[in-house]
Symmetry: C2
Subunit: 236 residues, 2 copies
């Protein structure tokens, strides 16, 4: 067993087919849409037989999950690499770096945000779990940098977990719009907005605003539990 075929090792041939399937999947999922792409379409475009498909993946979703992971991993790798290079820069520079590299990486190819933020949503519990994991990772990243900024005295010392989650959401929203809009939104403006929002969210004072006399909105709409509605979220 394990002979070399066609000049290349079987391992290599396998890897090639797998790579081609992933490429085809990325292309079709983001154009036809995941729901409407058939396995045979992917196989046809990749030049791979269905038999080989099932040798590599358990089904369509498996391909999607792999792509989703790949894209996030790629971005994370780029970000960590850059962050290492500016290991001892000031905190705000590091945050800007994190963000610039992230945006730069995923906007290289509009199919990446499309797959990550549109096609891979609401497909299966497994994929939702995977999404959850990545949101956590990115949020932790952001929170860690924010904490660092706080230690350097350029941001207040507080819990940044929710802020980080909201920032991940902001980035997701911007990128989803970016890839959907026609005419396309300029990448530079997306990046600038994301950066400004992140910096202002991190550097903002604990109490943004003490509402005068009338404290916020209060009326007809049935409201579940409205404690802490004046911005006094706090931990510990």
């Amino acid at each position: 067993m394990a002979r070399t075929y066609g000049g290349v090792a079987p391992e290599q041939r396998r890897a090639d087919r797998r790579a081609r399937l992933l490429t085809a999947g990325l292309e079709l999922f983001t154009s036809t849409g995941f729901r409407h792409t058939k396995i045979t379409d992917v196989c046809a475009r990749a030049g791979v037989s269905t038999r080989n498909f099932y040798e590599e993946f358990t089904g369509k979703e498996d391909v999607l999950r792999t792509l989703h992971d790949q894209i996030n991993s790629l971005a994370l790798a780029h970000v960590t690499a850059e962050l290492d290079k500016v290991a001892d820069a000031d905190a705000l520079t590091r945050i800007s770096t994190l963000l610039d590299v992230f945006i730069a990486t995923v906007t290289v190819d509009p199919r990446m945000p499309r797959l990550n933020y549109v096609e891979a949503v609401g497909v299966s519990p497994e994929l939702e779990a995977q999404h959850q994991v990545w949101v956590d990772r990115w949020a932790n990243f952001i929170a860690a940098e924010a904490t660092r900024a706080a230690e350097h005295g350029v941001a207040p010392k507080r819990d940044y977990r929710l802020t980080a989650i909201a920032l991940v959401g902001a980035g997701t929203g911007l990128l989803r719009e970016w890839q959907a809009h026609d005419p396309p939104l300029p990448v530079e403006e997306i990046g600038a907005e994301f950066r400004a929002m992140m910096l202002s969210a991190i550097m903002r004072p604990e109490k943004i605003l003490e509402l005068p006399g009338n404290p916020g909105a209060r009326s007809g709409v049935e409201q579940s539990s409205r404690a802490g509605a004046r911005g006094d979220a706090r931990r510990t």
Copy 2:
């Protein structure tokens, strides 16, 4: 034609079935997941035959689109109603109101954000278009309030379109996490975070930060077009 059956007019019976189908759809789409719910499931739970189903809807997606629209419309109605009540309050109070009412409305039932931000994503071009329309509406709303704040001198005069889109994304992200997390995130903290982020994003100065000497990240990663990387996005 048009007799009264079972005591009620046929119109009424139709409307009832339609309503029951929508309720069943909301329940099943958010538990089983849209992909994996079958039309017959919806019919069974609603106590409606497939024949009647096709009298009301063209298919599963039609139900989903209707629900998506309903939820957004509900939230918008609540928000505009409240905003009218504080028509001449100061700008920041209005913004807080907008936000509080929105959060209060959609967190009444976790199935709403689940359907809106998870199940209804990446299903079909039509649904994506509908999503786009709603993002635009909400973003315009936010941008209008921000502009109002600027006119009152509590925020800089600038273009708030992208900021508004990012804020919509932030809200989406927070709510998606909220409905997915176990143990659940406290609603009050979500609201507080969203409000703080919105206020700091709107009130932030034009130039958040002039990067010192080394201007941001620049290196290995291939970058598409990096003009404006120092935050000089501007219109007109």
